[in-house]
């Protein structure tokens, strides 16, 4: 296990580097984008004195390197700055919407796994049958249709025509079932593309594993088909899918914006989108920073799951870190 703990340490180190790099890029963004944030915030009728005053309060009059260091130092203390429009701490604003985004991302991926993995497994164990070919067509269709189109259809069918599920919003605070019911359609609209993707990936990796000599060994010793597939083949076949899940969750954390707008849900994507419209850079920085943080943490988790499943990776880790 020393290999694993050494690995976690070295991965935390790289994670920190990625985060600092992302922060620096985010900071540079404010320098590269045209337009002075202070004058944009105050509007065309502000006097130069008022603009200068806000520039000083925002720290825009300091040299660039000092502003970067200050920015990094503040972030390290958990201070993402103050929103100059509402006067509220950005961290608070981000943390308010983060649970909605995280819940949506994990619900979507969870749903995609719960449907995609069994479909892919079925297709791989019944290759070239009519069902397999039908699944292939449906999967590719799911991947190809943009999720906002699916979202609109789901809304139309399940909320408006059938009236089974509520239309918009996130539900009454504290009412778990209401919130869960309102999560179904947005999560499903985001999940469907991933269902197709995971089903295809699962099919191809499981088919590959089922042709491995060690699977032939299992069969030569008469193990049941269920044991061969679900115990011995599925574990290895799950690895590529797990790798994709890390990316998928990361993408959904920042990219759920269409679902958030269509279903009128608060979320990180929507927060950032609206902040870009008003050139409210501190919010863009804070929001993107939190997404980057969640992304690298998710991928760290994926790598650990990988090492936990595959002993050969664990062994290589031990060699690399010692």
């Amino acid at each position: 296990m020393s290999g694993l703990s050494g690995y976690i340490l070295s991965r935390l180190g790289t994670t920190a580097l990625v985060v600092v790099g992302a922060l620096t890029l985010l900071f540079a963004l404010t320098l590269l984008v045209p337009g002075d944030p202070a004058s944009v915030l105050l509007g065309p009728r502000a006097t130069p004195e008022v603009i200068d005053d806000l520039r000083r309060r925002m720290g825009l009059d300091l040299p660039v390197w000092l502003r970067l260091l200050k920015f990094l130092g503040q972030v390290a203390q958990g201070d993402l700055g103050i929103d100059f429009i509402s006067g509220r701490p950005i961290l608070t604003m981000v943390l308010e919407v983060m649970p909605y985004t995280v819940t949506l991302a994990f619900a979507s991926i969870g749903l995609a796994v719960a449907i995609g993995v069994p479909l892919g497994t079925y297709a791989a164990t019944h290759p070239n049958t009519a069902a397999d070919q039908a699944l292939a067509v449906v999967s590719v269709g799911f991947i190809a249709v943009p999720n906002f189109v699916i979202a609109i259809y789901l809304l139309l069918i399940f909320s408006i025509w059938l009236d089974w599920l509520p239309v918009l919003g996130t539900g009454r605070p504290g009412d778990f079932w209401d919130q869960a019911r309102r999560l179904i359609l947005p999560a499903a609209s985001l999940a469907i593309g991933w269902v197709g993707y995971i089903a295809r990936l699962m099919r191809s990796s499981l088919l590959e594993i089922l042709n491995e000599p060690y699977i032939r060994t299992n069969r030569a010793f008469g193990l049941s088909k269920a044991k061969v597939v679900y115990k011995y083949a599925l574990k290895g076949a799950a690895l590529p899918t797990i790798a994709i899940l890390g990316l998928g969750i990361g993408r959904l954390l920042g990219g759920a914006i269409f679902a958030e707008i269509i279903f009128a849900r608060p979320g990180l994507g929507k927060l950032i989108y609206e902040a870009i419209g008003t050139r409210n850079y501190p919010i863009v920085q804070g929001g993107v920073f939190v997404i980057v943080l969640l992304f690298v943490l998710t991928n760290l988790l994926v790598d650990l799951v990988y090492a936990w499943i595959d002993p050969r990776i664990r062994a290589n880790l031990g060699k690399a870190s010692s």
Binding site: Y214, R216, F221, G222, Y232, K235, D310, P311, R312
Partner: protein, 320 residues
């Protein structure tokens, strides 16, 4: 001597992108109880196909099986997949050429061996099973079995993995063990150790072994009887010592001549000229005629059928 397995006129056609290939073309083979039968031939002669056909492991959708395989009198050609699965791991088992890939890299030796034992003897308690596994690892010559039992395959050397495979086979106590070139992927010293292990096991192992190899030296050392395959047909069979001392088929003679050298480079140079005819295009006449030094007009016209040439010996040659 009673027969354990009796293969009669076995034909296997495999579907390939280029059309059906007759990989086995009427092979008859008898495996007596408690004996080791060697199966030799070049790559592509159909040795592994014969083994997979015996176990019922050829993909049903891509292969066509004709003829008869009787195991203890029970017909296996046309038996249900469920019946064949029931026989595998109980009455018959197989170990493979490459021990590096024959074990699942994501599971410990203990898990993989335990599942095989659980199937053979479902009633054992966890502690009994563990004791049996440790005893078996010890028996196949694995030092420190306590530690090896919980190792993953990548933590073991090739020779040790093949010992694990042999342990797996012995846990089944099969009537018929098929060993498909079990030493080919190993280096020479390990090959000798594994061969020694198989020889030693004869004392405890009551079943029959079908030992597939292209190493005639090993076949001579380990087997009681031998069958020589060429291009999907049986060209000669009989007691190993007699066949090797007085081969009756020119192909067997040529194989023995190739083997009678000292190292592999020389063997390459001495190898039989010509190529094994493709299973896609088999014409009339003897399959070996195109490479045979004794071939005459008759050999290209008339297919020589395997026939008894003396007591216990069969050869498929007009001149035998």
């Amino acid at each position: 001597m009673t027969l354990l397995a009796d293969l009669r006129d076995l034909r296997v056609a495999l579907a390939t992108p280029a059309g059906p290939a007759q990989v086995l073309d009427g092979v008859s083979l008898e495996i007596p109880r408690g004996r080791i039968v060697g199966l030799v031939g070049e790559s592509g002669s159909g040795k592994s196909t014969l083994a997979l056909a015996l176990l019922g492991l050829l993909p049903a959708s891509l292969s066509r099986l004709d003829g008869s395989i009787r195991l203890d009198g029970e017909e296996l050609v046309g038996a249900s997949p469920e019946r064949l699965q029931a026989l595998r791991g109980t009455r018959m088992a197989m170990i493979f050429q490459d021990p590096m890939t024959a074990l699942n890299p994501l599971f410990t030796v203990a898990t993989q061996l335990a599942d095989v034992l659980k199937r053979r003897e479902p009633g054992l308690s966890g502690a009994e099973r563990r004791a049996r596994l440790l005893g078996m690892l010890d028996k196949v010559g694995i030092a420190d079995p306590e530690r090896r039992l919980h190792a993953y395959p990548h933590e073991l050397s090739g020779g040790m993995r093949q010992r694990v495979m042999i342990a797996m086979a012995l846990l089944c106590r099969p009537d018929l063990l098929i060993a498909d070139e079990p030493t080919t992927a190993l280096d020479v010293t390990i090959e000798a150790q594994i061969a020694g292990l198989i020889r030693d096991l004869r004392r405890d192992f009551a079943g029959s072994i079908l030992f597939i190899s292209h190493s005639l030296g090993l076949v001579a050392e380990l087997t009681d009887e031998v069958a020589v395959l060429y291009a999907g047909t049986l060209v000669e069979s009989g007691p190993t010592a007699e066949v090797f001392a007085r081969p009756r088929h020119p192909y067997t003679s040529a194989l023995l001549a190739c083997e009678a050298d000292l190292d592999r480079d020389v063997r390459e140079a001495l190898s039989i000229p010509g190529e094994v005819p493709s299973p896609l295009e088999r014409g009339t006449g003897c399959v070996f005629a195109s490479r045979c030094i004794r071939a005459e007009h008759r050999c290209r016209e008339e297919t020589p059928l395997p026939r008894p040439v003396e007591a216990g010996r069969i050869a498929a040659c007009h001149f035998a």
